[in-house]
């Protein structure tokens, strides 16, 4: 491009260029404005979808954090609990607590008669009520013989009705709850005998087929053990691999091949790692199906390439002058890496590891193969107990017919999202606090 100086160009000609430039200028500004607005539109569309997703999930899920309870007058009749009067713990354990619940319900509605009517009445409280009474007596046998007003868990249909998710205007046959049941619930509500309490069950119990008794503790513990194994395996191995490849390995065809393979592994669909885990850990090493140990092993295979790649990037960002200075002071290569390079690269490595772990936390496909897509009631107590993980729990709940599982599914998603945000937040804090710019 030649730049004509104004002096060298005749005045008329220069005016001509000016008009040409001016005419084009508007177009160029318009093009820039257009480009900016495309960018804005793209960002706001993205944000809109995020907001929609969050609004949808939170809107559906927040009622699940409250649970309806019914206050029932229970009389711990010794004739039912301990007819022999021996106070034998085994006999007390196996007493007919359901009869106590039924008696309590009848006491509230003495006029209800007939088998079907009574069944409908008993269906207002959850089947957990029986076990609740059993637990109370187990804790405090002195209760036998007393009468108490006890808050018992309401059934899922009552819970859904109280939360306003059942249309009362519908015909009786189209509702999961019958007219007479709605009548009783209304009476109880008017008498203040129905109350919504914070849903501790959601966080304290394992899976259940009854929505009101289902919780995510089993899945949370399963996720915890699985991620623990994943971290313990993939972080040291990943860091060691990254350090060796970056600092010690000779640059030759073999290391190139390894590098290409690691990059490829990072892009392999996760289900493939599940198949590998099934073949190697379960079929060959005879490890138990559904165990967090196997889940952790499979997920660490998946997370390793991510950690290695992030680790190598963190190592390359440490300037060579640090290495040279250390070597110049007489440090050995291992001391140079151990005392200087690794500490400086660690924040970046940890960030990579946390992002890899967050990905592993959200993974469900490879776990299908190794049997972690399962209904497990007992909360796992170790890495060998059968377990499931949070995303799998969400998948399983979303596929159940009961309406009350919809809000629980969303609540579980909220918990999963909270952990994701937490982990990614931690990664950002680590990067901001400890990363050094050169």
């Amino acid at each position: 491009m030649n730049k004509p100086t104004p002096a060298a160009v005749p005045a008329a000609f220069s005016r001509d260029i000016k008009t040409i430039v001016n005419a084009g200028l508007q177009r160029r500004h318009a093009a820039e404005r257009r480009f900016r607005s495309y960018g804005l539109i793209a960002i706001s569309l993205g944000l809109l979808f995020v907001v929609l997703m969050f609004a949808n999930i939170i809107g559906k899920g927040y009622p699940a954090f409250w649970q309806t309870y019914v206050q029932v007058p229970i009389s711990f009749d010794p004739a039912v609990i301990d007819p022999q009067g021996t106070r034998d713990p085994v006999a007390i354990e196996s007493a007919d607590y359901a009869a106590l619940v039924r008696a309590g319900m009848r006491r509230m509605f003495p006029t209800v008669e007939g088998r079907t009517e009574l069944r409908a009445l008993y269906a207002l409280v959850s089947s957990d009520a029986t076990y609740e009474l059993q637990r109370r007596i187990h804790q405090n046998p002195a209760l036998i013989g007393s009468s108490q007003e006890i808050w018992l868990l309401a059934s899922a249909t009552v819970d859904t009705l109280v939360k306003g998710n059942i249309d009362r205007a519908l015909d009786e046959t189209e509702r999961p709850i019958k007219d007479n049941q709605i009548g009783w619930v209304d009476k109880l509500q008017a008498a203040g005998k129905i109350e919504k309490q914070f849903n501790t069950i959601l966080f304290s119990s394992g899976d259940s087929r009854e929505p009101e008794q289902a919780g995510i503790r089993g899945a949370l513990m399963g996720s915890f053990y699985t991620l623990l194994i994943t971290f313990l395996l993939s972080f040291p191995i990943g860091v060691a691999t990254a350090v060796y490849l970056e600092e010690f390995a000779p640059k030759n065809r073999w290391t190139d091949l390894i590098e290409v393979n690691i990059n490829n592994l990072a892009a392999v669909p996760s289900i493939v790692f599940g198949l590998l885990g099934l073949a190697v850990f379960i079929n060959f090493f005879d490890l138990p199906r559904s165990a967090p140990l196997v889940g952790g092993l499979v997920l660490s295979l998946m997370t390793l390439p991510v950690i290695i790649i992030a680790g190598r990037a963190a190592l390359t960002s440490v300037p060579p002058s640090i290495r040279e200075a250390a070597l110049g002071m007489g440090a050995s290569k291992l001391q140079m890496v151990g005392h200087h390079v690794l500490p400086l690269a660690m924040p970046g490595m940890l960030t990579g590891a946390i992002i890899g772990m967050a990905r592993a936390l959200g993974e469900s496909a490879p776990l299908l193969m190794i049997g972690m897509v399962a209904f497990i009631v007992d909360v796992p107590k170790g890495i060998m107990d059968p377990a499931t993980v949070l995303p799998v729990q969400i998948y399983l709940w979303s596929d159940l017919p009961e309406r009350a599982f919809v809000e629980r599914t969303s609540a579980a998603i909220m918990v999963l999202l909270a952990f994701m945000v937490l982990m990614n937040g931690l990664a950002i804090i680590l990067r901001k606090r400890f990363e050094r710019r050169w």
């Binding site: 076990y131 059942i166 249309d167 519908l170 046959t173 189209e174 509702r175 999961p176 259940s208 087929r209 009854e210 395996l233 040291p236 191995i237 060691a240 691999t241 060796y244 850990f281 379960i282 090493f285 005879d286 490890l287 138990p288 199906r289 559904s290 140990l293 299908l368 049997g371 897509v373 399962a374 209904f375 497990i376 009631v377 007992d378 060998m384 059968p386 399983l396 979303s398 596929d399 159940l400 017919p401 009961e402 309406r403 919809v406």
Partner: protein, 347 residues
Amino acid sequence: MLKQKLVLALAATFVVTGAAYAQSARDYISVVGSSTVYPFTTAVAEQFGKGSKFKTPKVESTGTGGGFKLFCSGVGVQFPDVSNASRAIKKSEIETCAKNGVTDIVEIKIGFDGIVIATSKKAKPMALTIKDLWLALAKEIPEPGTGKLAPNPFKTWKDANPDLPASKIEVLGPPPTSGTRDAFVELVMDHGCKEFAAIKELEKVDEKKAKAVCQTVREDGAFIEAGENDNLIVQKLVANPNALGIFGYSFLEENLDKVQGETINGVVPNFDNIADGKYPVSRPLFVYIKKAHVDVIPGIKEFIAEYTSEKAVGDEGYLSKKGLIPLPDAQRKQVSANANSLKTLAP
């Protein structure tokens, strides 16, 4: 070096823990199989865990075929004890089982599951027949008159049957991997095509071709594979009143405020009609038990007893509340007697 040692140490850990695990017997029942039976078996498992001294069984949702694959891999604590199935076990699967030493299998028929064809409540009900459904959904149909096979030309339900409304054919159904799809093909498509003389003729000449013609679902967008999640199909029906959806009866029962089941051959899909066998699109559900595990894994006998008890599978049992249609009384008694005496399948 360090890495090598690590790898060696890890490998050693697996072998040791694996061996330790194999030696210590599993103390809970392991169930695998169909996602259709999953909601029922899990309910039984939970009741069993709460009401007995045994641990709650673990129930995996792997699909019927995947379940049998695991179930038939062998005898031993590392293999499952029970397999859920939304169809009867196939001969080929029995053979695989036998090859791996799983010879004695106890079958429990737990009840029926209706497959409903439903629309949004906003849509006008259609009186469908199995023949209409086949005409609307088959890939190739015989031309009227000549009986020659031609790609399905029908765009609206009215094309298939003049009594039906002129709305677009749009059916949301499960993918071929699903047991519900198998059952739909077997109960609707296979029967629907037999109503045509041309297909019957073809069956005499070339049975395989006839079967393919009967069972192949059209791929031009009229039948939409909507995934395994039945709740999703219900949601899509609400959003699109013109569409029909295929799913299990329990999802209809839970969503009666949103969707309605279409009558098939004049029969309404409801509890009584499916239980009586009047409703044509219903299938039995099964649970299979490995007899060799019965005294090895604690609680299997008691689990069978729970699964065949009146309080579970009876007319008013807890499974009927979850949408399982109970067997007729006499059959139920027979099934229960056979299962509790551990009568195995004839080889």
